[in-house]
């Protein structure tokens, strides 16, 4: 019989290495995808929640969790939980600073439905100017929109508020 608490600690440490394949600076814990780690009869159960309905990175993240735990010699099963639904409000403060440092504007603070018209104007993560414009609400991945800074003229991604 393995000590459940230390097994859980080892699993958490192994999971620290699992990052989002599209945004490699963020771990699954930073993103709020990792909802829980528990131990049942020497088997670690990892509960995760999907982000966007169609995010193709979720399959890869599941695979990476299995690999990371197997590498640490931990028997695990992964459970996907839909409820409560993931929101960008769950991004940790550390995640928000890492995103900005990586060149992606973090999402607005409180997820809410915006009006039908009127665009989001995130602050430029490169020069800090608020004078930005939206190029497209749909960017290189499901979670990002595309913007341009009028001050430094650089294009940048913003993490969509969800």
């Amino acid at each position: 019989m393995v000590d459940a608490a230390s097994l859980r600690e080892r699993a958490l440490a192994a999971l620290e290495a699992v990052t989002d394949p599209e945004i490699p600076v963020l771990t699954i814990a930073d993103l709020g995808i990792l909802r829980g780690v528990s131990v049942h009869d020497d088997v670690v159960e990892v509960t995760i929640t999907p982000t966007y309905s169609g995010c193709p990175a979720m399959n890869m993240i599941t695979l990476e969790i299995e690999t990371a735990l197997a590498r640490a010699g931990i028997a695990a099963r992964i459970r996907t939980s839909l409820s409560p639904a993931w929101t960008t409000d769950w991004l940790t403060d550390a995640a928000r600073s890492k995103l900005a440092a990586f060149g992606i504007a973090p999402p607005e603070r409180t997820a809410s439905r915006r009006a039908l018209f009127g665009e989001a104007r995130p602050v430029c993560p490169l020069c800090g100017s608020a004078d930005t414009e939206q190029i497209s609400e749909f960017g290189s991945t499901a979670c990002k929109s595309l913007h341009r800074c009028r001050a430094c003229r650089e294009p940048f991604d913003a993490f969509k508020c969800h």
Partner: protein, 252 residues
């Protein structure tokens, strides 16, 4: 044992509700994905592909849930049903036509899907409520994107105006079916009928800004929810289901 090549689904009231919503999302998602490689600009290509991805993702969550009730996998539900077993409304299966047609359809469907999923967040079924909580945020983006384009097309050049108006006139007889759905057990899924007022207000507001004329409500097409489809669905399925039908159980 030979792999399954075709399935028959036992449609309990809940399974039928799920299939109606999942089939609408998957078929529209598939149509939008056909624009990949052909969209008018690179940004629009990404946008349509992203919207398709959202819709296919919503469909997957709903098929997974329907699968647990009917004893099938999400892939079997998508790949191994013949056209008469599909429960999507007819509008989503129509061929893409020109860009104006695809955008007008996306607007008409999203203006319904957005309030529908918003209402479904209050479902007494926790899985439906959880799927709805994601879907309603995504459909808000789809609606806004389609609205901005339709206004640009309608209030654009004489050519774009004419194409947008023609698309709208051709699509209008298919809008009635959006508000039909099989009876729901209790408060599992919202009744679409009361959402008609919200839908009309959204659509007429956008059409006014787009300087487009709202077509009159005349005779409406129907049949999709009971499996009477247009010839177009068969062609779509022939392409979408080709691999699993030809190489049953193939995986990689």
């Amino acid at each position: 044992m030979a792999a399954t090549t075709s399935i028959a689904v036992e449609e309990t009231p809940l399974a039928l509700q799920l299939l109606c919503r999942a089939d609408d999302a998957l078929i529209l998602g598939h149509r939008l994905s056909e624009w990949t490689g052909y969209a008018p600009t690179l940004e629009e290509e990404l946008a349509l592909a992203n919207i398709a991805l959202d819709l296919i993702g919503q469909a997957r969550a709903l098929y997974s849930y329907a699968g647990t009730l009917t004893g099938h996998t999400e892939d079997q539900l998508a790949y191994l049903r013949d056209a008469p077993a599909w429960r999507n409304c007819l509008m989503v299966e129509l061929p893409n036509g020109d860009f104006a047609f695809s955008i007008a359809r996306l607007l008409l469907v999203s203006a319904f899907a957005d309030p529908f999923w918003h209402a479904a967040t209050a479902s007494t079924d926790s899985t439906i409520a959880a799927v709805a909580a994601k879907a309603e945020k995504e459909t808000a983006y789809h609606l806004r994107h389609a609205a901005e384009w339709l206004i640009r097309l309608g209030d654009g050049t004489a050519e774009s105006h004419c194409r947008a108006q023609t698309a709208l006139d051709n699509l209008w007889p298919y809008t009635g079916e959006l508000f039909t759905s099989p009876p729901s057990d209790g408060d599992i899924a919202p009744d679409p009928m009361p959402l008609r007022e919200t839908w009309s207000a959204t659509v007429s507001g956008i059409l006014a800004r787009a300087t487009l004329k709202q077509p009159p409500d005349g005779w409406m097409q129907s049949g999709g929810r009971t499996g009477r489809h247009t010839e177009h669905l068969g062609h779509l399925l022939a392409e979408m289901q080709f691999l699993q039908r030809t190489y049953p159980g193939a995986s990689w």
